[in-house]
Symmetry: C2
Subunit: 314 residues, 2 copies
Amino acid sequence: MYYLGVDLGGTNIRAGLVDEYGDIIRMNNLPTLRERGFEPIVRDIAMLVRGLIEDESLDPADIEHIGIGIPGTVNRKKGLLIYANNFDFANVPVVEQLRSHIDLPVYLQNDANCAALGESAAGAAKDVNDSITLTLGTGIGGGIIAGGKVYSGFNDAAGELGHTVIVRGGEQCTCGRKGCWEAYASATALIRMTRRAAQENPASLINTLTDGAPGKIDARTAFDAEKQGDEAAAEVVGEYIDYLSEGLIDLVNIFTPERIVIGGGVSRQGENLLGRVRPLVEEKIYFKGEPRTSIVQARLGDKAGIIGAAMAGD
Amino acid sequence: MYYLGVDLGGTNIRAGLVDEYGDIIRMNNLPTLRERGFEPIVRDIAMLVRGLIEDESLDPADIEHIGIGIPGTVNRKKGLLIYANNFDFANVPVVEQLRSHIDLPVYLQNDANCAALGESAAGAAKDVNDSITLTLGTGIGGGIIAGGKVYSGFNDAAGELGHTVIVRGGEQCTCGRKGCWEAYASATALIRMTRRAAQENPASLINTLTDGAPGKIDARTAFDAEKQGDEAAAEVVGEYIDYLSEGLIDLVNIFTPERIVIGGGVSRQGENLLGRVRPLVEEKIYFKGEPRTSIVQARLGDKAGIIGAAMAGD
């Protein structure tokens, strides 16, 4: 039996045919062109998945269901996209629209939950039942897996793990509150901190590495400059790691998941990041006994969303 | 079928015979006398539950199981009390010890989780599947109910909802971190804030109501003085409500539970507290759609722990 997973992004629609082991058999994509309205987008989703079925000489009857990862809030029961950050649409009956093109069960799921499901089904949390997957990118995506399934609350809106205040009255967050973890531990926050340090330390390697152009500073810059011995960069990285750990400690105290999986751009620092985060977390979590939560790097990269969408059935 | 619930506290052991509807048929208690070592405590637990069975002319065969609420960490699978704040014991094989006195299945559960289970089975969250129960007392007890069951992580240690930092570097918490929610929204925190206000405002009614003795200030004092028009007290209450709301917003963003139940001493303020908390939470939670989390007062008082313990089976 096969599954179809669709990762609907602001720029691209990516679809994959996934087998029961969570392996992607074949992938394809189309530009989202989000300004064009939602119905043509759904038509393209239908075209993509039909293409995948045909290219593998399969029949719709070989497909268990289609899952779609949405960058926003969904209503799973009603099959609605309620609201998505990157789109101008609200309350779109995505399931109904897609089923008018292709007669298969369709499930919606939030994209961060899909990433968590993907890592749980076939990635870094494959061997455990309870995990949390964080995606450190523009924001902090969060997905909670409990007993192998997404925990998404009674209204499909749970898992906004980045929108928890760690610095009351602190940095303005996009959600309207001040001091959210996302405003301190996302890639965006790291870039902001790196830019501030560059401005305050004109002689810093941060400026050398980016030709003095703040616009060239990205989530790698501070780590790169630190490796070359730059003090201001080391301070930024140290501060970032502190903030990241603060929220991770909270999550361990709340969930004691068997594993926390960290993905997204910043996670590519691998052990240079996680090797420094772990002792900070270990030192301060509430539970002193065994067994303990492990913190690991994500494994599936941007395929997690497709694989997780394919696994987003009932 | 009947269940036996035991609430093991630092001062008293309270036990109840509970029916399948979560109603307490009969209760009894004994002093804990915690300095005497754990085996005599277990003997007294056995005596209490045997007494309840006999007083109702029941037979052990009429009892499904015994559940014990422990003020600390347990290992449910191994039947161990791992660690309890109020006791000098660690790694006690409670289940094995109790079963040497009485031949019934025995389950352990953390006491805050028992309170949550109780409110879920027979109290303020009876009609929903996903709820969180908070007990605002010396600390903040937290219990997560997902799909009608306690979510306690892979090591039974989840649900330390009070030990999440909302003010980084803030007030010292008993857990070793600084700025935990518990250090701002527990009854203890409210008393600390009230005492500070009393000291800084000698003319405040807070001092009049407590004969100028800081030791007489409790979790009701600020609310009482506010009701009589005292400005300093109103400021304390307003600040407390802000802190309480901050953590509640985090919990809604993380879990979007169908209901949050608030118990413990401070919750006796009822709508005077919750009626002011709700709009603050509503204003700032991430999810803007329907349906929404409701925040209500606990219903079972100190019986929640016994009823929940009775429901703490597999």
